[in-house]
Symmetry: C2
Subunit: 699 residues, 2 copies
């Protein structure tokens, strides 16, 4: 699936982009006057060019202050202006794929101030959103779906026109796709269906050469030849899907684009308008020149780029600013870090991702079958450029193709290799069926590194709150949820035990998902001085626990033995549980609560659970994901369905009451994590209050 744009750091924190001092730009006389598409149409030819310039300078200033998908939007300035010059949104419907390239569209549809005025930056999201504007068709954040959506819009338009015996005046439907999205399987399904459907449908393919996931994939060569031939060479992949085709060599020439769009406006059949744009157009390589930026055009594993004219950071993959100029910053994050984030330490994804890569890299020389697979966006997960260079064939970027990546890993496993597939939790949803079929049903010995699982302040298209619900209910999957670096590396070592150990005592019998620790755990480790560096791991200096055997890996760990109340805290909630136990111990009416780290969420350690019966009245489960279908309900259901037989006199027949803490079944959009924890009662105060109520029977 998807573009990796979990919301900007700012968004997640609910903050603004640096206050008034970060004020964006000079005068934007034309842009400031644009209230809607009609204003774009009313501009003179010279004003149209001025508008493009103003938008570009606004985007750059905005990027520095706020972060965002600046590179891809810079490439789309002229195309978006031309779209609104020619077409009549919302009567004509424009669907932006992933919708991360919609900033210019937003500026032209009444929301320019949200980019011009720092105090209003948070008035818009990073994606299209029908709640913001009638010009936004959908909320989208995963790749490749725009063509299918456009087919649906067009289908209904045409059926209504047929019913009305009137096809005059029906609107155009336009899908804008590119910048990596075309490697997603659903985009091809859409292409194949578009021609079959017929009728007006305009697919604008934004080919910024970064497309196809960073020059990735076999179609890159033919696409390059298509560009070189001014759109005339064969094989033409769009023709191969039965589609009409136009080519615009300079996709940053607003006049050429206006002409091209006018030609296809009102067309009676599907057509692809292939526009060759320059990602990051308008950025000078010296812009904000104090920062060295390397490898800007490398967004994949294979450095076959021939984009000599591309300036160093014409890529979303390339942060406008990054505190680690030599390491992976160029695609380190699809959301560009704003200036004020410089110097911050790694977020948990990058931190723990780097540790995992270091642990694996140590083994590359002796394990030819060990392969790290990233369906795009490696940098966000700490899979740095330098790592990838050193890894060579041990690293594969498959493009934005989660389904392929997971299936590819199953193939590697079958051949006896050791695959590790890494991406963000919400993107893994694209491989749900492959997790069932090729991975689990086939007992593939593979490892899934699940990043950004659990609650976060992410936008609503990238939330990781559903990962346990997804993975833990697939038969045959083991999902480990480590709460420390030590466990995390031990889990990784166990999951990636070479295939020739399969069946040997202790090795996993099938696939293992490891949920990468989140912010709460990283903060705890930093506070305790437990955080290690990737360099230490790479040099073997950190005390990385050895992998245990299977029985050991799946056992709950009683970290503190108390009585009456047991708190079983999954993953990122473990530090919260510690705090609750501490607070209970030091309360006026102290309770010596038991603290348990379950370490995994796919099987119940019934031995430990049974041991609680004798002297625990209450079991608390904590998880930082959705309660419904999640882990805590499994604990509740176990005790509900398994009561100690009264016929065993040696045992107390008591069944502890279970209380579950976790997230509601809902979508949340850029709600700060602290607010979510408050909302769901995942706070020390709330948990203790419910414990007290339950013990006194007043609940």
């Amino acid at each position: 699936m998807g573009m990796d744009m979990t919301g900007t750091v700012d968004d997640a924190n609910g903050g603004l982009g640096g206050g008034p001092d970060a004020a964006v730009t000079g005068r934007c006389d034309v842009l400031s006057r644009i209230i809607g598409p009609d204003d774009v149409k009313a501009l003179s030819h010279s004003e149209l060019h001025e508008l493009c310039g103003e938008i570009r300078s606004t985007l750059i200033a905005y990027g520095h202050a706020h972060g965002g998908h600046i590179g891809s939007n810079l490439g789309m300035v002229e195309a978006t202006v031309a779209l609104h010059r020619v077409f009549d949104s919302p009567y004509d419907r424009i669907v932006f794929d992933v919708s991360h390239q919609s900033y210019v569209h937003k500026m032209l549809t009444g929301r320019a101030q949200a980019y011009l005025n720092p105090s209003r930056f948070d008035e818009v999201t990073g994606f299209t959103n029908p709640d913001e504007s009638v010009h936004d068709q959908f909320v989208l954040g995963h790749t490749g779906t725009s063509i299918s959506l456009a087919c649906g819009l067009a289908k209904t338009r045409d059926m209504r026109a047929a019913a009305n015996h009137d096809d005059a005046g029906i609107g155009n439907v336009i899908a804008v796709i590119g910048d990596g999205s075309l490697s997603s399987g659903i985009a091809f399904e859409g292409l194949n269906n578009a021609a079959e459907q017929g009728g007006n449908l305009i697919i604008v393919f934004n080919d910024n050469e970064m497309s196809i996931a960073g020059d990735f994939g076999g179609m890159y060569g033919p696409l390059a030849r298509l560009r070189e031939s001014n759109g005339t060479a064969q094989p033409n992949i769009f023709n191969a899907f039965g589609l009409d085709y136009r080519y615009v060599a300079d996709g940053n020439d607003v006049d050429a684009l206006v002409n091209a769009f006018e030609e296809v406006k009102g067309i009676d059949h599907p057509v692809v308008v292939h526009i060759h744009t320059l990602k990051g157009a308008g950025l000078e390589s010296g812009d904000d020149g104090s920062r060295e930026v390397a490898h800007a055009t490398d967004t994949g594993a294979n450095e076959t780029s021939n984009l000599a004219h591309v300036e160093p950071w014409h890529s979303d993959h390339c942060n406008l600013s990054d505190h680690e100029p030599h390491e992976g910053q160029c695609e380190a994050s699809h959301w560009q870090t704003p200036d004020k984030a410089i110097g911050r330490p790694d977020d948990p994804r990058k931190h723990y991702g780097k540790l995992a890569m270091a642990a694996l890299e140590r083994r590359f020389p002796t394990e030819p079958g060990l392969v790290v697979i990233s369906p795009a966006t490696p940098g966000s997960n700490g899979i740095t450029h330098e790592f990838r260079e050193r890894a060579g064939a041990h690293y594969v970027d498959t493009g934005i193709t989660e389904a392929h990546a997971v299936t590819f890993a199953a193939g590697i496993a079958k051949a006896g290799g050791t695959p590790v597939v890494a991406t963000t939790a919400s993107f893994f949803q694209r491989a749900y069926d492959q997790f069932f079929q090729e991975m689990s049903l086939n007992r593939s010995r593979m490892t899934v590194l699940d990043f950004l699982g659990g609650l976060s302040g992410s936008d609503n298209t990238h939330s990781g709150a559903y990962d346990v619900t997804m993975f833990a209910n697939i038969p045959g999957v083991t999902m480990l949820v480590p709460t420390s670096t030590r466990d995390y590396l031990a889990d990784l070592a166990w999951a990636t035990m070479p295939a020739d150990t399969t069946g040997a005592e202790g090795a996993p019998e099938g696939p293992v998902v490891i949920r990468v620790p989140g912010q709460a755990i990283l903060e705890r480790e930093r506070a305790l001085g437990h955080a290690v560096t990737p360099e230490e791991v790479l040099r073997g200096e950190s005390a990385t626990a050895e992998a245990g055997d299977a029985a050991q890996m799946l056992r709950y760990r009683i970290d503190h033995q108390g009585a009456d109340v047991a708190i079983i805290a999954l993953g990122n909630t473990y530090p919260l549980a510690e705090a609750v136990v501490n607070a209970l111990a030091h309360a006026d009416t102290p309770i010596d609560a038991t603290l348990i780290d379950p370490r995994q969420c796919t099987s119940l350690d019934t031995v430990t659970m049974e041991s609680l019966r004798a002297d625990h009245r209450l079991v608390i489960t904590l998880e930082d994901g959705q309660l419904e279908g999640g882990w805590g309900e499994k604990v509740t259901a176990y005790y509900a369905n398994h009561r100690a037989p009264q016929s065993e006199p040696a045992r107390d027949p008591r069944t502890p009451r279970v209380l579950n803490f976790g997230a509601d079944k809902e979508f949340t959009d850029r709600v700060p994590l602290a607010d979510l924890n408050e909302r769901y009662g995942l706070t020390v105060g709330s948990i203790i209050a419910r414990i007290r109520e339950a013990l006194t029977g007043r609940s």
Copy 2:
């Protein structure tokens, strides 16, 4: 996702193909001698041709007696023989996409008797299976994954060879794809990655013109021109993905195939071998000529076939035998019904599918936005050929593209149309991310018809036991689980209320999934004389309930008010619950149990649940799907977390104990439904025993 091949009827029933009288064929002197691929290599040229003939006659006889994917296997006879003549399985690894075309492969790898001898028919599954043979690489039943799997096999081979500094003697990797699979998105992801990866990889594209989901999609035209030009025309879609390409015009000429495979054996880069085969080759149109077979080449919505030379039933889509010769039999099922099944009444998928289509068809004249979408395999779900002809533009077959189909529907909904997407539960797993994003997050007013949900005797790749776990845990989804025709049609009417009613009182606020009733419900309705015909529904003669308002649709229904024990039975378990209530009422120590139909599984009717506190000690949940992450655990967790406050003196503080009945978290392969029910305690005896135990405290 997928081919629709849930296992043969026989498999599901554990029966055999008609006993010795169904003995298959004449003498198969050559085939009987084939123990493994070496024996194929040892044959003389004339014996090779004899072998093909014997296999063909064996397949036909087997199809009559047992059912199966006969058409597609008939097309692959020579190609499979040639593969084993040229390549050295298992050293060379052959991956059969979907693996429904692997019968011939099985015959040639030690399993011929499982096709020759009716008493041994059940010794093999309908798909490849590593537990059966080292020549089978994977268990596969969903489409399009073979190229990705092959990439993984090849990757590990090449990394090992590099580590050993030895690339001599490394095996070939061959993916065999076609017969509809190429329209799946993951197949394109695989194609795009194959060329990028490089190294030996041979993709055999079985183009039987039925491929591409029945001539479906924009790529059909270019593929036809490719065939007409003997593989020389552009655009060549495989070239467009950067792949080398060979064409074999007669893919049923074993000598030509042997030559073509010998040419590519040991090749150092990925290549596509496009073989043009005849699906069902060897079937005479008069074979078993007493049955009329119509429309055999129509497998999609669009009747653009130009396959004049294709004989009437050269398609898996076309049953060898069907009791309804005029209605949809040609792609009614991907598993061909054996002779002995003739005259059986419709299975529940077809029965309830036909009712839904009839109810929708009545509205087509007045609702131009009402569209039924089937990602292939419509016939299995009662979406008959005749319906499709009448539906015209109101019906769309998207090819085997669940992700596109669901997204397409979201587009239709956005434009104000009324989309209904219908396919089999396990195939919908392919659209998991789209259900989250395009469907639910966007509050798309669309309906999902979920066929074969719940337990069945299906094979392990097509089980519907996980559908509630999938749908019910997605925020914003409403999943209805009707237990009667009346409810089913009312649910459909409510879910498909036109979009202009959105926001109006009573209309759904977002997407609705309807689980199509299964065998237990159909049997109950037939026994009660409640089953109606599609014709009655179409004519408006059946008493179809009107859609209620939202509050009403989501309310639990107390069908019998008793005391002490309440049984809440979801969907297909409702008849079982009735039987339990009856048995309890007439027991020696009678219990007047309450019987509740929850009607949906996505929200809890807490009013009804609270009402049980006063006089029920025990609540039983029944569901015919996976317990973990399923529906019953939600009920359990509700009572565990919500106890009646003791401070309310008017209320009994009792919280009923909850017992959950449902399926384990496991894969099952062709286990008869009755056996599964026994295994999971979903029987009257087992449920009553647990109720008695719980009431007496002896559990």
